[in-house]
């Protein structure tokens, strides 16, 4: 059972942070969809509702997504449906159901670094930064690599570049967590491939990304590239699949995502 001893809705991010670090048991509330499942004991719950962090905006060369923006907002945003072939909107649209997506937030999903995340794999393939109150603005890849420090994720920043992208996931049933997911993006001649749910958190597949950027890929030689990713990444076994199966699916999904990108000219 969830226990919350106190609750604050700070008017400023500074105040929110001050309360967060005041005690170990204090915690920022995200969408709260997973809160019911455990039996957490929260000292002071910090609700960011008053900070206006729930918008999707274009700021200069970036798309800024506030931490409290819901998956459903991302799914339905005309901007995100357009940008990068709608890769973000597509990635989150598989998650459970509409009423769930109206609850969960991008901030909590990114901050929690869930291995099964659809969102992270797609975000990581774009030029994405996270803006932390204390840690400042760093790339998503760096954030995912770092151990978690107590901080508040305020915004996600995505560089607006002309890019083609595709998202592919393998699921045992439509509303299940993915067995594996893959995103591929092509910006100019630069390719990037990310793989998530291995079952560990999303990661950039460096070797294949480099190879794709250096050599011409087409529907005939796509297997060659996909194999690079399967060899460079480590896959694990959990309830939804063995490492062996994941590795095999990685090849298939990357192949499909590349072909999809090649098709959208």
């Amino acid at each position: 059972m969830l226990i919350i001893n106190d609750l604050v809705q700070p008017d400023t991010i500074e105040e929110a942070y001050r309360i967060l670090i005041a005690r170990k048991t204090n915690s920022v509330l995200g969408g709260c969809a997973f809160l019911r499942m455990g039996s957490r004991n929260i000292g002071t719950a910090i609700d960011l509702a008053k900070l206006g962090l729930n918008t999707i905006k274009e700021v200069d060369d970036y798309i800024q997504i506030g931490a409290m923006t819901t998956f459903r907002d991302i799914e339905c945003s005309p901007l995100l449906q357009q940008f990068a072939d709608g890769v973000l909107s597509k990635a989150v649209s598989h998650v459970i159901g509409i009423q769930f997506r109206n609850v969960v937030t991008i901030g909590a999903s990114v901050y929690s670094k869930y291995g099964f995340s659809d969102l992270l794999t797609a975000l990581l393939v774009l030029e994405t930064d996270v803006e932390l109150f204390k840690g400042g603005r760093i790339s998503l890849a760096e954030f995912l690599d770092k151990p978690n420090e107590r901080d508040i994720l305020m915004n996600i920043w995505i560089k607006k570049v002309d890019c083609r992208a595709a998202y592919q996931s393998m699921r045992m049933s439509a509303s299940d967590y993915p067995v594996l997911n893959v995103a591929v993006a092509k910006t100019g001649t630069d390719w990037l491939v990310t793989v998530g749910a291995r079952p560990r958190k999303a990661i950039i597949a460096r070797h294949i990304s480099t190879a794709l950027s250096q050599k011409n890929v087409n529907s005939e030689n796509v297997d060659f590239f996909a194999n690079i990713a399967c060899e460079e990444l480590v896959f694990g076994t959990n309830a939804r699949g063995t490492a062996q199966y994941r590795q095999a699916m990685c090849k298939v999904l990357i192949k499909r995502a590349i072909k999809e990108v090649l098709l959208c000219k």
């Binding site: 919350i4 609750l7 809160l35 019911r36 609700d47 509702a49 459970i96 159901g97 109206n102 509303s175």
Partner: protein, 150 residues
């Protein structure tokens, strides 16, 4: 804590615990249509509207709806009954336990997407699980209700 909220167009002041979820508050206040079917935010039984959007009331902390508009099926009785008649004609309510949450999502779909395709209907309603009907009768009813050609 005390929150002011509009439920079914009525301004209400609710006393809620910090760790109380909206579904429990609503049931406590007599909205028996709000049901819980899972512990993991994925069955859709508890769906109500928050500011018109179908939302899992089991997963929203009650204090967060302060100042918002909550709609349960009790608040849209006429529309709900109109659809329920069609659903009943198909026999597709079966045990009925998931129906209120399902109907709330159907009515939201109607508001949000005026002329949905079958694919859009299925996508919109995927978060509403049902173990009785096999979904086909529900789909027939929704298509009839929204005037979608089969």
């Amino acid at each position: 804590m005390q929150i002011d909220v509009t439920i079914n167009n009525k301004q209400i002041s609710l006393t809620v615990d910090f760790n109380e979820f909206l579904a429990d508050s609503l049931r406590k206040h007599g909205f028996s249509s709000v049901r819980k079917g899972c512990d993991t935010s994925c069955c859709g039984l508890c769906s109500v509207w928050i500011d018109g959007k179908p939302t899992l009331s089991c997963s929203v902390l009650a204090f967060r709806v302060a100042g918002k508009n909550i709609t349960t099926i009790e608040g849209v009785e006429t529309e709900a009954e109109a659809f329920a008649q069609i659903l009943a004609a198909e026999g597709a309510e079966q045990c009925g336990f998931c129906s209120p949450g399902f109907i709330m999502t159907v009515l939201a779909l109607k508001n949000e997407i005026p002329n949905p395709t079958e694919e859009q209907i299925i996508h919109y309603l995927t978060g509403n699980l049902c173990r009785c009907t096999g979904y086909m009768g529900q789909l027939r009813a929704v298509k009839t209700y929204l005037g979608v050609n089969t």
